[in-house]
Amino acid sequence: MARSEKRSLGASLALHAGLGGAALIAVFPVLWVFLTSLKPAGRETSSAFFDHPSFAAYGELLSKTKFLTWFGNTVLIAGFTTVLGVFLAATTGYAVSRFRFPGMRPLMWTLLVTQMFPVAILIVPIYQLLGKFHLLNQPLGLILTYMTISVPFCAWTMKGYFDTISSEIDEAGRIDGLNPFGTFWRLILPLARPGLAVTAFYSFITAWGEVAYASQFMTGLDKMTLAGGLQTFVNQYTQNWSMMSTASVLIAIPAAVVFVLVQRHLVAGQTAGSIK
């Protein structure tokens, strides 16, 4: 916890100046996309804060494109990726944290190595695999693919979190006659809520903003996710920056909302993740 301390006025000012300056830089590009979305087509690169501002582009985006369909698809895909990904990461993290079993260390290494192979080069083989399982153009195909990105990180984080939960609780569960699954589900998981929040946030953001897989595996305006749909504004020689920035704002808002919901837990969750 923050320590109580006495600071000089100068030190306080410096602290506020530092944090305020950093916060401004953190927020500015996000604000700038919003300001850009208010500018009329053709003036997107204007350096003025306001240049003929209007919400016309929002009306156009919502009425003339399939934005709402894409939005629904993405909510579905990101939602399932998050729920499934967090659950699997939690079971894996728990197993690795509590049990010493053959294959544990290779598993941890494998999870790390999956982060190392460049996604760009995996697209074609994964495409062929999904084709064989008839999962192309299906939300499930994308959900499974996104889990390969999010679960390794989440499992590592959850392992770190479970390590901080005293094993006496497991012991107590066993004495009460719970099997390990029961102990995990009824006793440990509720205690791990902050860790779950972090992994949920990470899984959600991963699925929400992913472009490369989404645009190759999903076909047709009705099946696209938001990030894939954004590509319809890039044509052979032209780019529709007005639509792109408007869509970007609407894509960023739900991500920010999820983030505000879980951010109280973020710090606490990461604390645990730190202790290996």
Partner: protein, 340 residues
């Protein structure tokens, strides 16, 4: 794939045992132990099975296939094709040994080493700068300061907004003619820069944007670490007359070591393969000044007729570099008494 029952001897207590697993225990096992192991470890194996299956199928299989393809001349022309239901064209690529690798590493006009140099420079600068900034902000946020939660929320924002959205925004802000950044610098009477068009500036610019994207992760992680340091430690240190700097050096930094090692490891892996930032901000330009290994591989092998063999070789090389890094990094940590 990861579960190997014949080479590892189980040493844990019964399933549900609470000894945290640490360190390898590898001795030769006998097949007769399989049943025993199954009885002991079925809980754990069941818990990890879904992840193992998904990862093995969706990453493991393509990875093994990639290893194989990297020794062939596979491309769009000679790969297997199933055209409609009836026309099947079998694969006709052939084994070329390690020539994809030797071409990439030592061929005439290879840009591997130049790109590796830049990728390392990029990774080190991005990780170092975002770590220092994240650490500094975390320490500032850990003070009692009015509006702390507001600052914290705003500072995590770059992480919460999808990367492609903020990268577009930075492209506008850094636009040479009309970007806000040059406009503001000019208004303040400062020199302007050709942010994305000048070869050296473009390198600095992409690092800046990536630092902006990456520092919240470090900040959040370090903040968590800071908050787990017991306050009594500082109280004791104060009683011993330690000044703020000594407290930071002797208490704070050592306490942050475990979290830092994980953060640095993950940041390094992610930054090394950071495709979207480069692809969307400069597309590797001007020339190939900002081209990372991963974007260079994509551009070489995936535009026009695709070279699956060559691109797999690039992928394997990238993987090897990172595995070597992870092993060396882990060794150096273990020497200092930390294990993960």
């Amino acid at each position: 794939m990861a579960v190997d029952t014949t080479t590892s001897q189980p040493t844990a207590t019964a399933a549900g045992g609470d000894t945290p697993a640490r360190g390898p225990r590898r001795t030769a096992g006998t097949p007769g132990r399989l049943r025993l192991a199954l009885g002991k470890h079925w809980y754990a194996w069941t818990l990890v099975a879904p992840v193992v299956i998904v990862i093995a199928v969706l990453v493991g299989y393509p990875l093994v296939q990639g290893l194989y393809l990297s020794t062939t001349d596979a491309n769009d022309k000679n790969s297997e094709k199933q055209i409609g239901d009836f026309l099947h064209i079998p694969a006709s690529y052939k084994n070329v040994g390690l020539s994809n690798y030797t071409d990439i590493l030592f061929g005439a006009h290879t840009n591997f080493w130049a790109r590796l140099g830049w990728t390392v420079t990029w990774t080190v600068s991005c990780v170092a700068v975002s770590f220092v900034i994240g650490l500094t902000l975390a320490i500032m946020l850990n003070r009692k300061v009015r509006g702390r939660s507001v600052y914290r929320t705003l500072l995590i924002l770059p992480w919460a907004v999808p990367a492609f959205v903020s990268t577009f925004s930075w492209r506008f802000i850094m636009n040479n003619d009309r970007g806000f950044l040059n406009h503001a610098l000019q208004a303040l009477g400062l020199p302007t820069f050709d942010w994305l068009n000048d070869p050296t500036m473009a390198q600095i610019s992409v690092v800046m944007v990536n630092v902006w994207l990456a520092f919240p992760f470090v900040m959040v992680a370090v903040l968590g670490g800071l908050q787990s340091i017991p306050g009594e430690l500082y109280e004791a240190a104060e009683m011993d007359g330690a000044n703020a700097w000594q407290q930071f050096w002797n208490i704070t930094l050592p306490a942050l070591r475990p979290i830092s090692s994980t953060v640095i490891l993950l940041s390094t892996i992610w930054t090394f393969n950071m495709f979207p930032v480069i692809f969307l901000l400069t597309n590797g330009g001007p020339g190939d000044e900002t081209q990372l290994l991963v974007t260079a591989a994509y551009q070489k092998a995936f535009t026009g007729l695709r070279q699956f063999g060559e691109s797999s070789a690039w992928g394997v090389l990238i993987l090897l570099i990172l595995v070597v890094f992870a092993v060396v990094y882990r060794r150096s940590l273990r020497k200092q008494g930390e294990v993960w």
